[in-house]
Point group: C2
Chain length 409, copies 2
């Protein structure tokens, strides 16, 4: 929290309240002092929920809890702690989840499996359960529709700026709102969500339909962002739909009436995912990587992630060096079909190498200027097929070492 | 070359000449100024050769050349350049290889496909071929049996110390020598050799047998070392056997008579691989990772490499923080079978977490002391089976960023 704000930070948008959703935060002192560290949301009866979680094989206890609770498809409350992730805490960690959910269920007048839990922070330390459950009634009593901005701050750990996004969408003649907040700036890698991300809408959407929309949107956003290739044990994306606003009934199978709603959810997810990349630990530059001409979209995605995760590519960009040789290396190490002699590489729209060799006498001036900017674009054409993908990452700087060489101390 | 010598550096051993092998170096100015940058070795008629190369799909032209030449199984010369890797240089790169091999073959009185080539350094720039071929006669005229130490220095790029190792072995009643040199300190990752490594012996070994010994030894040494997960386009390990020293004839299938010779080759490879880890760009600590209890040896290796490649584990160790939570994360992200509640983690021989939770009141004193040392040992027991693996890496420090954020400038 004491690190300087990322130069890539974006201002918080004004978040309109989501009808039906109540939000609150409090200073509980789970680990941090003198800042809000517990966030609560409450939802009306009938709220449906969708979730996407880390693929890490050693997930935190709250992830296990949510996976179980998600089977019911219904949600009445969310409790999030920052500072302690309740990961690798064995039986004690599971008991913390059960006790927190039970206490929250009592306040919300619901079943325990309608309470969702998420925690982020240090791994392997017991979460002070009684301190947490003791604080819940006070937070619950002060819930309001308006405290989304406070929630975006209260879920932060090493983040340097709060992350929120919002859209409206039309379902039939009605207008619904989608709001989202997220936190995460390290231990970010593909094949999962981000560390924590919570969305809510006042639309009324069957849980299975909501799950499909969230999954697809996460794959296109959070799963296309990497900071350091490390996959957190706590990554959680939850989407709550209160159904408070009246609109034409959504059939169990979804359908074309949700086209605009799906767009809105996906845009919120994409906004938040890019904010995570912009707040990558130590990030000075946002990097967009486009791969075209791969044998398939999947192959293109793997090649793009190989470039995005390469420490040598990321340090070169930190040094404002358009070192396309390292990009070629990263293409080759992906293990996907590639032919050195068909590869082309561009930086900032200037093609530097084409079909296996440097372009003699290409104009370096625009490339040098582009590398000095805050946003760097890399294009690679594999020259083999029509598969394409776009991913984002950030550069690897001294700031990353500063932050992660002393995280616990 | 201007970076401070790694604190993990080892002194150069005294290398005995390998009967039959002539070595020479010269300042050619391929890229560097005022230092030796071209290395030559010459071997007598009858020398056999084995090779292991990068799995990067965009290999350098010299790697392609060696793969072709290796089919003949015979070698008479080796030419190595430092400063320019001749990678992603298209047709010009292939012509450089052909012209260099032709010029060297003329000097050595052999066929072009008995000449082996390796280059390391910047990617995507044409190697000044005539400068190189023009220098070969002078180097050839001054070859000696004794210049192994000079060769170990002349093949360096970002290395901070030269790397060499030697052993003797018995074959029947005869004693043979195995000498090796290596270079490499970044762009080091598994599934390949190191950047460049050359071994020679005076034993007489059929090429196919030599290949089997080298492959197995590389898998156990270089393929168990990672610095930054980036797989070079130039990685090459070559082993030359001159057959100069008389010993009982080795049958085409090899056999038990080569047990001691195999040990010697593998020990030289292991020595050199660990030196590469010790010279990892920015390395302040050598990290040994043991994984036991995995479902198979392959699974254990993958888990160990996931830990070794995790930026968060590597920065924690740089910060002298025994952050076993990040180790748990890295186990989980490997994608291999793992059960959080059966995992145990030790640092420096002290078990900190066992079967899914921290060991209450474990003595942190020896752990803290261990973390302050130059060599850090991590043990992880997966608790599922009998598979085990050991790998090595180094910590991730500001030095890595310094070196790689300004490599070309």
């Amino acid at each position: 929290m004491s690190h300087p704000v990322s130069p890539l930070a974006l201002p918080m948008p004004d978040l309109a309240p989501v009808p039906g959703v109540l939000v609150g935060t409090a200073e509980v002192g789970i680990r941090y002092k003198s800042r809000e560290d517990v966030t609560m949301m409450a939802f009306p009866a009938g709220t449906t929920v969708a979730g996407v979680f880390t693929k890490n094989r050693c997930p935190g206890a709250p992830v296990d809890w949510c996976r179980g609770a998600l089977k019911g498809g219904k949600a009445r409350a969310l409790v999030v702690t920052a500072g302690n992730s309740n990961v690798f805490t064995g039986k004690a960690g599971r008991e913390t989840c059960a006790q927190t959910a039970a206490a929250m269920a009592k306040l919300a007048g619901c079943k325990a499996n309608e309470v969702f839990l998420a925690s982020t922070g240090v791994i392997g330390e017991r979460l002070p359960t009684e301190k947490l459950t003791g604080a819940l009634p006070g937070i619950h009593a002060a819930l309001t529709e308006k405290d989304w901005n406070g929630a975006a701050r209260a879920i932060m750990t090493t983040d340097t700026f709060p992350k929120a996004a919002t859209r409206t969408a039309r379902i039939g003649d009605a207008t619904v709102t989608v709001c989202g907040i997220a936190k995460g700036s390290g231990m970010i890698a593909p094949d999962m969500a981000t560390m924590l991300c919570f969305l809510a809408t006042d639309a009324k959407i069957p849980a299975a339909v909501l799950q499909g929309i969230l999954k697809k949107g996460s794959d296109r956003s959070f799963n296309c962002v990497t900071v350091d290739s490390d996959t957190s044990t706590s990554d959680t994306v939850l989407l709550f739909a209160t159904g408070t606003t009246k609109h034409p009934r959504v059939p169990a199978a979804g359908g074309p009436m949700l086209k605009d709603f799906t767009r809105a959810v996906h845009e919120v997810l994409m906004d938040l995912a890019l904010m995570v990349a912009r707040d990558g630990e130590g990030a000075q530059k946002l990097i967009q990587i486009d791969v075209t001409g791969a044998v398939s979209a999947k192959s293109a995605h793997r090649i793009a992630m190989s470039i995005a995760n390469s420490p040598l590519v990321k340090t070169a960009i930190a040094g404002e060096d358009a070192n396309w040789g390292r990009i070629v290396m990263a293409v080759g190490k992906a293990g996907e079909p590639a032919d050195r002699d068909k590869l082309s590489v561009a930086v900032g729209g200037t093609w530097m190498a084409r079909e296996g060799g440097v372009i003699p006498g290409y104009d370096e001036t625009p490339v040098v200027a582009h590398m000095k900017g805050r946003e760097v674009e890399i294009q690679v054409d594999i020259g083999l097929g029509r598969g394409k993908a776009r991913v984002w990452t950030c550069d690897l700087t001294h700031g990353y070492i500063d932050i992660n060489g002393s995280y616990r101390s």
